[in-house]
């Protein structure tokens, strides 16, 4: 037994080191590339850039589409998470509390948008939207992103609703609690975690979404990922790509690591119920 423990500790340490290299090296390289000075390119065979500066950051900020793309991305994401929440709330409430017939089937359908290949959905949604004049509009992108947000949102909200213990509701009802009071005093506090987690998750998924924004938005609306696509594709530019990657990724990572524990809690019904 002791031996097994030792082996796993060694394995664990080795694993941690690999992990550090596995995640750390790529991120480190991106940071390094984003700091390459505009006048002294990082060329072969220099092991490290000769000069580091924020010159490319300020150029990218002032003279590329970055600002416009960020405004579009964040506006779309805000609208998307708001509307996804509105659409998902009633459905999740019924799925979580009423256990309707065909629950499994409905839940499977609700998961489909993230299972089907994104580019296929994007191309044909684009085709339909073109025929009804919804391409090249913010509304079109938002409608598309809602589709991809629903699976996450309904999933998280449904399990939050499920986690509300029936006896609490019964007790409240026995005490003659009014309906509106019920919503604000019982339902809302109980699903709060799922509510927050779902909104943040959808928000981040919307910011990261590429296929639909690419097909529905470009060239009129550029989001951060579609901009990245340009700098990784025909306009390959390592420094700009690094800058945009960092802008796209770092805020999301921080938020997600902060709320990660909470998402987990709200995903497992029993533990949440125990707390309640």
């Amino acid at each position: 037994m002791q031996k097994l423990k030792k082996i796993s500790i060694v394995l664990f340490v080795v694993f941690c080191l690999i992990q550090l290299l596995w995640i750390g090296a790529p991120v480190f390289m991106a940071v390094l590339w984003s700091l390459v000075d505009v006048d002294t390119p990082w060329s072969y065979p220099d092991m490290f850039p000769k000069k580091l500066s924020f010159s490319q950051w300020s150029y990218a900020w002032n003279h590329t589409n970055l600002k416009r793309a960020m405004v579009t991305s964040y506006t779309v994401a805000t609208l998307t998470s708001f509307f996804t929440l509105l659409i998902s709330l009633p459905t999740s409430y019924i799925l979580g509390r009423k256990k309707p017939r065909g629950k499994r089937f409905i839940e499977t359908v609700l998961l489909l948008p993230i299972v089907l290949p994104g580019m296929v959905i994007a191309l044909f949604v684009g085709r339909i939207f073109t025929s009804i004049g919804l391409v090249q509009s913010m509304g079109g992108i938002v409608l598309g992103h809602i589709l991809l947000g629903i699976p996450y949102m309904t999933r998280l909200l449904t399990s939050s609703f499920e986690s509300i213990p029936q006896d609490v509701l019964d007790a409240a009802q026995d005490l003659g609690t009014g309906r509106i009071r019920m919503i604000f005093k019982i339902y809302f506090p109980m699903i709060r975690l799922g509510f927050i987690a779902g909104t943040i998750f959808v928000f981040i998924k919307s910011i990261e979404e590429f296929n639909l924004s690419f097909i529905l938005g470009l060239p009129t609306y550029e989001t951060i990922p579609t901009m990245l696509y340009t700098y990784l594709g025909y306009n390959f530019h390592r420094t700009y790509a690094s800058i945009i990657s960092l802008i796209l990724t770092v805020p999301n990572l921080i938020i997600l690591l902060l709320i990660e524990q909470k998402i987990k809690t709200s995903l497992t019904p029993r533990s949440a119920a125990g707390k309640g």
């Binding site: 505009v38 509307f83 659409i87 009633p90 090249q136 509106i180 919503i183 339902y187 420094t239």
Partner: protein, 388 residues
Amino acid sequence: MKKVSRILLLSLVIFVLAGLPVMAGGGKEKKEASYDIAAMSWDEIVEQAKKEGTVTHYAWYWKEHWDKMAVDFEKAYGIKATVVVGDETSNFNKAVAEAKLAKGTIDVMNIGGKGVKIAFDENLFYGPLKDIIPNSKYLDKNLLQFQEGFVTKGYFIPQHRNQTGFAYNPDKVKNPPRTWAEFEKWIDEHPKQFGFNDPNKGGSGQSMVHTLIKQLAGGLEKYEGDVDVVESKVADWDNVWNWLKERKDKIVFTSSNADSIVRMNDGELDLIVAWDDDLLNKMKQGVIFDKVKMYIPEFGLAGGGDTFGIPNNAPHKAAAAVWINFLTDQAQQQAMSDGVGAYPARDDIKGTKTNLTTEDRKYAIPWFPACYKKYMIEQFTKQVLMSK
């Protein structure tokens, strides 16, 4: 429980109501304007343009340059120019999608190598502009008539000229190959150090294959004036494909014009095919070392340029014409040359700082007709990329 349901239903209604304006945003109609700039004098066009007061231009590069131009333009004419820096393919897809509408949303578009064919296939553009834009008499005559092997008949107004050439790393390549024999020998002696991009993904690779066809399949004269591929004339293109197949493990195919340049900076390639304007731009952006040198080999490489066009359903045609004319003024062309370093479309610009000398430019060759170019790209995929 009923109340919960009711409140949720209410929120649903709110959602629908809130969603309506968002969706409606996509379908705003512009005011109808019925006039034909071809029938108007330039003064009338300028007057009309000032009435319109706005112009929307779709490009896919040079954001900094456009921002400056727009400020100057508004000072000079009081017209607000909005330049959307999108993506070449998406710009054209947008134009195609809008073509059936009476009024589009694009007033001016940049047209590069990819777009010319779609422009003609889909009959997207208004013209000819040649006689409407006063500055066109100062612009490159050739580019006014031909773009990328297409006979454009003055529909498109030249913005800047560009040229493909060999770029090399002078630290590693002391004597770059200039003649055909030197070139073949160089590739043999330096395997995997010469590269050009897949012609499906960028013009510099197309130019290289085009040159190979010229060199290995009997010159370019025989294709002149053809509108369709003539089978007998392309029979000896097999020489080209065989030449490439024999050297498949000595030549690197990259994934874009920019990728070739990045790989040279990485030290992976020492001799590449590149656009002169692209290379200069990348030098300024700190993508590649400044010591890079460029030239056109004696067996020639093709060049061209980018142009402006006005879509048939442009909502502000007069403003579009004034904007195009403004951008081809001497001062603006000079600013473009100084700023982004592009080789101007006018000949009266001083101190152009491109990577190619006038001496080099005498080896520039024209493209063969566009039908052959399309066929060339297809065949390259089939004969070279697909053969394992």
